[in-house]
């Protein structure tokens, strides 16, 4: 059971990173906005705070760029946008994911009949 949970956690972790990139496709968003978008989709996040280490890593790897800007009446906001290599990574993931998830879906649906 534990091993199963760990596997699902790993799968989720791998995918969340690309979901963050996908949310930034064609537009910029600030941290809290990203967290809200992710937690608005059921089953995506366990803890909202984990988005920030992900953003740190994406930034370090050059897939996103961050810019801190003042906001009216609130705390400063850190806006994230995709870099060209972020765009490329997202495009590659999308293609692979569609093939893979389609394959898994097929197996799960028709496994007994294959």
């Amino acid at each position: 059971m534990d091993e199963n949970a760990a596997l699902i956690t790993q799968m989720r972790k791998g995918a969340v990173e690309y979901c963050v990139l996908a949310l930034l496709e064609g537009r910029e968003r600030y941290g809290y906005e990203l967290v809200q978008a992710l937690s608005g989709v059921d089953g995506m996040l366990v803890s909202e705070g984990t988005v920030y280490p992900i953003l740190s890593r994406l930034k370090r790897d050059g897939l996103v760029r961050a810019e801190l800007r003042e906001s009216r009446g609130g705390p400063a906001r850190k806006y994230y946008r995709l870099t060209p290599s972020g765009d490329a990574a997202l495009a590659a993931f999308k293609a692979q994911w569609r093939i893979f998830s389609g394959a898994v879906e097929t197996i799960l649906r028709e496994g007994a009949r294959l």
């Binding site: 967290v35 803890s47 984990t50 920030y52 280490p53 609130g74 906001r77 850190k78």
Partner: protein, 284 residues
């Protein structure tokens, strides 16, 4: 819930996060803490209900600091190390009460930061303030021009000297001239011998005042010198400690801001020393 209570709970959470992130590179650690702080502020600003429950819920949804730190280490490819304090997040309850072990740990860290800074500030004060006083006293003690004994003798002979002041046990004499000038000289010769040497008849002698070295002078000196010194030192220490607390009391600075805080306090001390010095110079 008051703003103070709210900040206490938030600082407590961020302090625990700071402890958990101890092994991450400093830049990343500070970034993460600031990201989470901004998240809390945004979420709080978003909520129409400003209650304690809402705040605890925001923190609950963020997750345990330990979880965030684990995520950070994994994402950034760093090997996990246990946190340095015995207050592992595993023993913490999921609600963030202010009296948990982690909270105490974070506060202890903050206090230690302040304690480390104070000796440095005091040390700097002990250098700056006496230097300032020394400069002021040297300036005020030496407004007169220093002249040679032969010059005094020549001046006395010419009848220009009005008064000669000397202190018992001191080789220093102060010569006042008719035109109001004051000059200082040093002589091992008694004044009477000096005036005899000047070849002046007693009726032409300038007024000679010899004052005894008295113990009240020492008290006056102590009062005029030490009292302002002590008062100024206390005031400056208080200002520095308060400034450092307000700048670095937040957890983002407990670890990484240590050297920054030291530099800041040093700068503050130097600035205040300069202000005190210029004030004293003006007063004198």
């Amino acid at each position: 819930m008051t703003e103070r209570e709210r900040l206490e709970i938030v600082d407590d959470y961020l302090g625990r996060l700071d402890v958990q992130l101890h092994d991450l590179p400093q830049g990343i650690r500070i970034d993460l803490i600031e990201d989470v702080r901004r998240h809390i502020e945004e979420a709080w600003g978003d909520s129409p209900d400003k209650s304690r429950v809402v705040l605890l819920n925001i923190l609950d949804r963020l997750g345990e600091p330990e979880e965030l730190a684990r995520e950070g280490r994994e994402r950034l490819g760093l090997e996990g190390e246990p946190p340095p304090t015995p207050t592992s997040a595993r023993v913490l309850p999921s609600s963030f009460g202010p009296s948990t072990g982690g909270a105490d740990g974070a506060r202890r860290r903050r206090r230690l930061g302040a304690v480390r800074l104070t000796p440095l500030a005091i040390l700097l004060l002990l250098c700056v303030v006496p230097t300032a006083f020394l400069l002021v006293f040297q300036r005020s003690a030496a407004p007169e021009e220093t002249i040679s004994i032969s010059q005094i003798v020549a001046d006395a002979r010419a009848g220009r000297v009005e008064r000669i002041e000397a202190r018992e046990g001191s080789a220093e004499i102060i010569v006042s001239y008719e035109d109001g000038q004051r000059r200082r000289g040093v002589t091992e010769t008694p004044i009477s011998a000096l005036l005899t040497q000047a070849n002046l008849p007693p009726q032409q002698w300038p007024e000679v005042r010899v004052s005894a070295a008295s113990s009240t002078d020492a008290w006056l000196w102590a009062l005029s010198f030490l009292l302002p010194l002590i008062v100024l030192t206390v005031v400056v220490v208080l200002v520095v400690v308060l400034a450092v607390r307000s700048f670095f009391g937040r957890p983002s600075g407990t670890g990484g801001g240590g050297s920054g805080a030291a530099v800041l306090s040093a700068v503050l001390v130097v600035i205040l020393g300069c202000v005190a010095l210029s004030g004293l110079l003006l007063a004198v």
